[in-house]
Symmetry: C2
Subunit: 346 residues, 2 copies
């Protein structure tokens, strides 16, 4: 029964950095309200790197050893209760795992329609970072027009998505930080007004933000760094400011200054997508479909593809993401071309 | 011009614990949308203790040396633009300072009508703690029916207000902590379902909450203690839980565990009333008038007066609050009776 098989990236060892192989595995079945999608491209995420090392196990119900949290492709099969999509529809979406394979199964409510004019590679660079950035800035953070925003790791996938969304939503100013001057220069193409290179001393961005904002600070900080930036983040927030924690690259524990949090009435919110319930993910995808896809369709915001790799180059793709040299997203191409040949560019 | 004078509690020295005297000072004038209230009773707050020591200066525009953040009394004079109140109306409200005096001036939007059946002493025990607790639980915390709530310092003014409001709003369970068994026993009269005495080890309440909730944890923690409880607070919060910081009695800095905040998608919000703008205070008082005063009117919630003192006993009133032996609010009586005689009870 060859048609019931598929190719997939599989984690075959968690030791060291972990080891990946391309394997033939069983295709997942689409039942009830589930839809099976022929994946044409799948984005890479930091969680995939952690999962490869055995440090971020897939949640119950997700394939244990096939990474991949997002995909773009065509609807190939419908569960008996699936109503939302026609066969062949171009869709993108999020999943708790298993997207780096020829086929993935997802609830129909976790999919959105890919706008015309976006390639599958571009579309695969969208879901995780735009859903995460939109949810953080608007649903959790309540960004209002005219407010200033500071986005750390502004050259990352979430960073470039957030900068564009903040700009499109009428933010008063979009500030960013990055590790290299090149990323700051490029981020200006994606809505960032002012940026600063930050090394080991976060006071550098605190001083820069004070200068840019005339001492007023920012309404929202979108933080992908974590502990080492905490104090400076609280420092640059204006009264009633919101700190959204979406990553912990810079450590997982830091001293919280209660007087500052209370005196300025700040709000610190942790937010991750993967741990959410099926219903919560559906709600986030619904908002994404209603509030972000139209912006993508009219090119007010656009995917940022750092590089794309064929399936046989999965190792190189993971290495690229791990290098921190990326600007935007790393994507695996699983179309017929991506399955057969090499296609690395960067 | 004797009628332009009034008696007031005045901070005459900030040294040591600070020193109070009852002085004759000029009456404040009611202009524009301001209303002058003949104060019949004024509640004491911890901020008054800090202000007496010189560690919590009054904000700009508030009397520098007359403490008092809340009052109940009768409208005595109207500014030329004041429309909301008739002379003689029984009102209570909040102010940035100066309430521990025969007369206080406040924007008309910072007042609410005292329900029939509440004495002025009772009414003076209401505004700060009920506005703070309502704002924290509902406006900031978004408490929903069925959710479990943990209230620290449940025998305090804010604690007893919060327990009653949570109960009246259909919380799934109301848990509390206090320093003494007596406070736990009394808090059961005010809506608390389960309580625990906490000494120096906050793990005591974490274990208790796990047991009471069958391991589910709580949706909201209302914290008046601060740093020393932070870790255990994050521990007992259910996914998407909210930690509301309204006090820092237990220290002002503690390590924040980012993984826990992100993994459970927690929200930490600092909230103080005093630092808010005139407009924000008006909004909080409007919600208080619409959502709390009706509960007071039908006795679904009620003021908790620990003790009342005459004006000449202000020192004793402050000592009582500082003792931490209080259950509910300490009130100064500034009615004709309170001005002339002693009236301590406890």
């Amino acid at each position: 029964m060859g048609e019931e098989k598929m190719l997939a990236v599989k984690i075959v060892s968690h030791e060291g950095a972990g080891r990946l192989e391309v394997c033939e595995v069983a295709r997942p079945a689409a039942r009830a309200d589930r839809v099976r999608v022929r994946v044409m491209a799948a984005g890479l995420n930091r969680a995939d790197l952690l999962q490869r090392r055995g440090r971020y196990p897939a949640p119950p119900g997700a394939p244990a050893d096939i990474p991949g949290l997002e995909f773009a492709g065509e609807v190939e099969r419908l569960g008996e209760d699936a109503r939302a999509w026609a066969l062949g529809a171009r869709v993108f979406g999020i999943t708790a795992g298993g997207a780096q394979a020829e086929y993935v199964v997802a609830p129909e409510s976790h999919l959105a329609a890919v706008p015309d004019g976006l390639s599958f590679e571009e579309a695969a660079a969208v879901p995780e970072v735009f859903v995460t950035a939109h949810d953080a800035l608007f649903t959790q953070g309540g960004l209002r027009t005219g407010e200033r925003v500071l986005i750390h790791a502004v050259g990352s996938g979430v960073g470039t998505a957030a900068a564009q969304l903040a700009r499109a939503a009428g933010a008063g100013a979009v500030y960013g930080t990055a590790r290299t001057p090149e990323k700051i220069v490029r981020a200006r193409e994606f809505g960032m007004d002012e940026g600063v290179v930050v090394g080991d001393d976060p006071r550098a961005f605190a001083e820069a933000v004070r200068g840019w904002s005339g001492g007023a600070g920012v309404g929202i900080v979108l933080d992908l760094v974590g502990a080492s930036y905490l104090d400076a983040n609280l420092d640059v927030l204006a009264p009633r400011g919101r700190l959204l924690l979406v990553g912990t690259l810079g450590g997982a524990s830091a001293a919280l200054d209660f007087r500052r949090v209370m005196g300025k009435r700040l709000r610190v919110t942790g937010t991750v997508l993967r741990a959410r319930s099926t219903e919560e993910k559906a709600a986030a995808v619904r908002r994404f479909g209603a509030e972000v896809v139209p912006l993508l369709a009219r090119r007010s915001v656009r995917p940022v593809v750092d590089s794309a790799y064929g399936l046989s180059e999965a190792d190189a793709a993971y290495a690229r993401l791990e290098s921190n040299a990326t600007f935007g997203k790393v994507v695996l191409n699983l179309s017929p071309a991506g399955l057969s040949g090499k296609m690395a560019f960067s």
